[in-house]
């Protein structure tokens, strides 16, 4: 009886684990099944590099959306990454204990706030500001980049901070013992040693920015056109799905799933990269 229970419990845990991973397989299969026929019909090259998205006429080119995703993500990284890394250094090295005790929950709250709330704030606060002071419609790459920069901060900050805190204390102490100032020690010893963790945090932050949908729908303007300046409205891969999925049918719906495939592949590459970077670090430690 006891042996039976023992075996049964082991089996159950195995089955549960198996179900968890089969979910990933299921997602992959269903999105592929639904999306690949259209890619096959249009041709991968025309689908990805096609400049015209006109589902009504049967034209499915997503290059403007790819350009949109890349430019907004890039903008978010340019704004968010330096601030995020500075914050992680602040938390790990400079902040007095009482301050970091307040600061960490604040970052957590930042991560928990619904993305639609960020989008809304962008819509009523950031967009008018850009329109009034910089010109253009306000709904723009810049607005999207600012909102996304805020949204990737928790990812960048928490993972960078963890990788800085994980360093052996002797690293910094050794540097200080050599007569370096605190900042010199951070700059020449701490940051290079924590590099892989920081890079991974940036990569994961970029993954988050690429994948965000609702917040950017609200601030990007969603025009399907190649942008010429950061004040132009654009549409990203995610917003393309989010906006049109509600009413799409037939080939149009398939095309949105095909957009999903592209997004899925990009995210898998980004995540694989992040996992690869951190794995390297672990090997080096041992």
């Amino acid at each position: 009886m006891k042996d039976f229970k023992e075996k049964l419990s082991g089996r159950i845990f195995f089955v549960l684990a198996l179900s968890s991973i089969s979910v990933l397989a299921l997602i992959t299969v269903f999105i592929l099944i639904k999306g690949t026929p259209l890619i096959a019909e249009v041709g991968l090259k025309d689908f990805i590099f096609g400049m015209t998205w006109a589902p009504g006429r049967g034209e499915f080119g997503i290059f403007p959306m790819i350009a949109g995703s890349v430019s907004v993500t890039f903008g978010a990284a340019v704004i968010g990454v330096p601030i995020g890394i500075c914050c992680s250094i602040f938390l790990a090295e400079f902040a007095p204990a009482w301050l970091s005790k307040i600061f960490r929950p604040v970052i957590q709250l930042l991560a928990g706030i619904p993305s639609v709330v960020y989008g809304f704030w962008g819509m009523i606060f950031v967009v008018p500001l850009i329109r009034d002071y910089l010109g253009g419609p306000g709904l723009s790459i810049l607005a999207g980049s600012i909102i996304l920069a805020i949204m990737i901060l928790p990812t960048v900050i928490s993972i960078s901070e963890v990788s800085i805190l994980a360093l052996p204390r002797q690293y910094k102490e050794g540097a200080l013992a050599l007569g370096m100032t605190h900042w010199q020690a951070i700059y020449s010893v701490v940051l290079p040693s924590a590099k892989s963790g920081i890079v991974a945090s940036v990569v994961l932050g970029i993954g988050r920015a690429v994948g965000e949908t609702m917040a950017v729908i609200m601030v990007l303007g969603n025009a399907v056109a190649l942008p010429e300046s950061i004040l132009d409205p654009v549409r990203t891969l995610t917003t393309n799905i989010g906006i049109e999925m509600g009413y799409a049918e037939g080939a149009h719906e398939q095309a949105l799933f095909a957009t999903g495939i592209v997004l899925f592949v990009v995210i898998m590459i980004i995540n694989g990269l992040a996992q690869y970077i951190t794995r390297d670090k672990n090997k080096g430690r041992r």
Binding site: A17, Y118, H182, G246
Partner: protein, 289 residues
């Protein structure tokens, strides 16, 4: 001109302080702005009345109920699945190929954008399984979405249980299952709960995956097969379609308050978990010396 070590130290320090303060300021700006505009709308009737005119009038009672139900479905499905997977990863595998595959899958699942979960939920639960736009479809989609969080936090909590507990339990004649059930689970439960609470927060905040799976009905749901609109989706609709700024702010304020409560709850649990662990370590270290 090369800066002296002292002045570069000063400059770097000020930049870093400025960045940190900027982040706090931005968060404060968002939260205070939304709360200032939204709190006046929050009233008992706003919470208990069903929306009318697409949300232009009335309250948000049905979105609140929808949010609770969708979240409940998600957590009830994902918890056994996620905790079971974590137990398997932490207690049963010895770092073989299967472990690597499971961990890779969990980490990959964690990075998939919610809109892709939405696409999957739509094609699989709504269409293929015929569940339609419903609480069930939305909840199942969210269950998959929060699964990686639950797996990761539970696995960390289980691995944090000292090995001596397991050894002791085995040496007293316990089987593996008895050890897990009687010793490991009770010791890890706070960490596991913390992960579940964070997942509740994520479910409450989610929009993209639910727009495509749960529908947008504002009627009070009568069964799990009924469509619904969660608070986050309702807020999005109100804001985007410019239906009622006052009600939009009110809903957003409620969302922020909820997330705040959830985070505080998770933090209290986690701190207790950590301080318990600290005590155990202290006790042990003390005796070793």
């Amino acid at each position: 001109m090369k800066l002296s070590a002292k002045s570069s130290e000063k400059i770097a320090k000020s930049i870093i302080w400025a960045a940190a303060m900027l982040v706090v300021a931005v968060l404060a700006a968002i939260v205070i702005y939304i709360l200032a505009k939204g709190l006046p709308t929050l009233s008992w009737s706003f919470l208990t009345e069903i929306p009318e005119g697409g949300g232009a009038a009335g309250g948000i009672a049905s979105p609140i109920v929808g949010t609770v139900l969708v979240t409940a479905v998600a957590v009830l499905i994902a918890t056994p699945l996620g905790v079971g997977t974590a137990v398997y990863l932490a207690e049963y595998t010895k770092g073989g190929a299967i472990t690597k595959i499971i961990r890779f899958s969990a980490e990959s699942l964690a990075g998939i954008p919610s809109i892709v979960y939405g696409l999957f939920g739509f094609i699989f639960f709504v269409m293929y399984l015929g569940l339609g736009w419903s609480i069930l479809s939305g909840g199942l989609t969210l269950a998959i979405m929060i699964l990686p969080t639950i797996i990761r936090t539970s696995e960390e909590a289980i691995r944090g249980v000292p090995g001596s507990y397991r050894e002791t339990s085995f040496s007293l004649g316990a089987t593996k299952w008895q050890t897990i059930y009687k010793v490991v689970f009770p010791a890890a439960i706070q960490g596991i709960t913390n992960g579940i609470i964070l997942s509740v927060g994520r479910s409450v905040a989610e929009t993209a995956a639910l727009v495509l799976t749960a529908g947008s009905s504002l009627r009070m749901p009568t069964s799990l097969f009924a469509p619904t609109r969660t608070m986050a989706v309702h807020f999005y609709t109100l804001a985007m379609e410019d239906i009622s700024p006052a009600n939009a702010f009110g809903t957003a304020a409620l969302l922020i308050i909820l997330i705040f409560i959830i985070n505080v709850g998770a933090n209290i649990l986690l701190n207790r978990f950590i301080s318990n662990k600290g005590k155990k370590k202290e006790a042990k270290g003390g005796k070793r010396n």
